[in-house]
C-alpha cells in the first residue's frame, strides 16, 4: 500500500504488517525486470547476430503503446535517427496483446510486408502461449533469414 492511501483511509492495525507475497500470485511489482539475465543474454545474441548477418539494424521494443499502436511504433522507428532507413523495429505490447513490425526505406526492400507477416505469425504463436522471449528470438531469426546476408 502507498503512503497516500494510509493518510486518507483509516487502516486497521493488522493491515500495517507486511503481507506475505506468494510466489506467482498477485500483480507483478513494477520494478521487476521483464526478462531474466539469461533471457536478456539470449535476446542480445539474437539481436547482435541478426544485425551483423544482415546489415539491418534490428531493435526490439517491449512495453505499452499508444493507440493506434502501429502509428506509435512508426513514431518510435523515426526516433532511430540516421539508421532508421536501414532499421527494423519490432514493437510488442504484452498488455495490449499487439505486435507491430516497422521497416525503413532500405530494409523494406529486403523485407517486404509478406515476409514480415510470416515472422509475425510465428511470433504470435509463441506470444499466445506465453513465451514472450522465444517469440522475439524466433522472429528475429526468421527476419534475418528472409533478409539474407549483407551485400
Amino acid at each position: 500500500m502507498t503512503p497516500g492511501e494510509t493518510e486518507t483511509v483509516a487502516v486497521p492495525a493488522t493491515d500495517d504488517e507486511p503481507r506475505p507475497r506468494g510466489v506467482g500470485f498477485g500483480p507483478l511489482p513494477p520494478d521487476r525486470a521483464p526478462f531474466s539475465p539469461r533471457q536478456l543474454w539470449r535476446l542480445d545474441e539474437a539481436l547482435t547476430m541478426s544485425t551483423r548477418e544482415t546489415g539491418i539494424t534490428f531493435s526490439v521494443y517491449v512495453g505499452a503503446l499508444d493507440n493506434p499502436t502501429h502509428q506509435h511504433a512508426e513514431a518510435l522507428h523515426a526516433q532511430l535517427g540516421e539508421v532508421a532507413p536501414d532499421a527494423v523495429l519490432i514493437a510488442v505490447s504484452p498488455g495490449q496483446r499487439t505486435l507491430d513490425i516497422v521497416t525503413g526505406e532500405q530494409s523494406a526492400r529486403r523485407l517486404p510486408d509478406r515476409s514480415l507477416a510470416l515472422a509475425a505469425l510465428s511470433m504470435r504463436a509463441s506470444f499466445s502461449s506465453g513465451d514472450l522471449l522465444g517469440g522475439l528470438v524466433n522472429g528475429l531469426r526468421m527476419l534475418a533469414d528472409q533478409a539474407g546476408r549483407a551485400d
Partner: protein, 114 residues
C-alpha cells in the same frame, strides 16, 4: 535400539528426504522471473533493445549509431506522453503540442494481435 533412535531413523530420515525433494522441486520456480501469461496486465517499464554498436560492424551500419544513442534520451522512449510533459505551467497545451516529431521513416510494416 532406543526409542529416540527408532524415531530418528523411521521418521527423521524420511522427513529429511521428503523435505529435500520438496526444496529441489520448488526452488527453481521460486527463483525464476514470473512468466508472462496472455491477458495479464503488463506493468513493467517500457524497454527498447538495440544491438550493441561495438559488436556489430557492418558497412551499412557505419557511424549512424551516434544518432541511435541520442535517441535513448528522448522522452518518447518511455512509451507514453507522461515523460514529455514539461511541467504544470505548460500542462494545458503539452498533450496537444508535443515536441516536433522526426520525419516519418516507416515504409512498410505489419500489425498483429494475439
Amino acid at each position: 535400539m532406543s526409542v529416540v533412535q527408532t524415531v530418528l531413523v523411521f521418521v527423521g530420515i524420511p522427513a529429511l528426504v521428503f523435505g529435500l525433494v520438496g526444496v529441489l522441486v520448488l526452488a527453481p520456480g521460486a527463483a525464476r522471473t514470473p512468466r508472462y501469461r496472455p491477458g495479464e496486465a503488463w506493468d513493467h517499464e517500457p524497454v527498447w533493445y538495440v544491438p550493441q554498436p561495438k559488436r556489430v560492424r557492418t558497412p551499412s551500419a557505419g557511424s549512424g549509431y551516434a544518432a541511435l544513442e541520442r535517441g535513448h534520451s528522448t522522452p518518447a522512449l518511455t512509451g507514453s506522453d507522461a515523460g514529455s510533459d514539461p511541467g504544470p505551467d505548460a500542462g494545458s497545451d503539452a498533450p496537444d503540442t508535443p515536441p516536433p516529431a522526426p520525419a516519418r521513416t516507416a515504409r512498410g510494416g505489419v500489425h498483429d494481435t494475439w
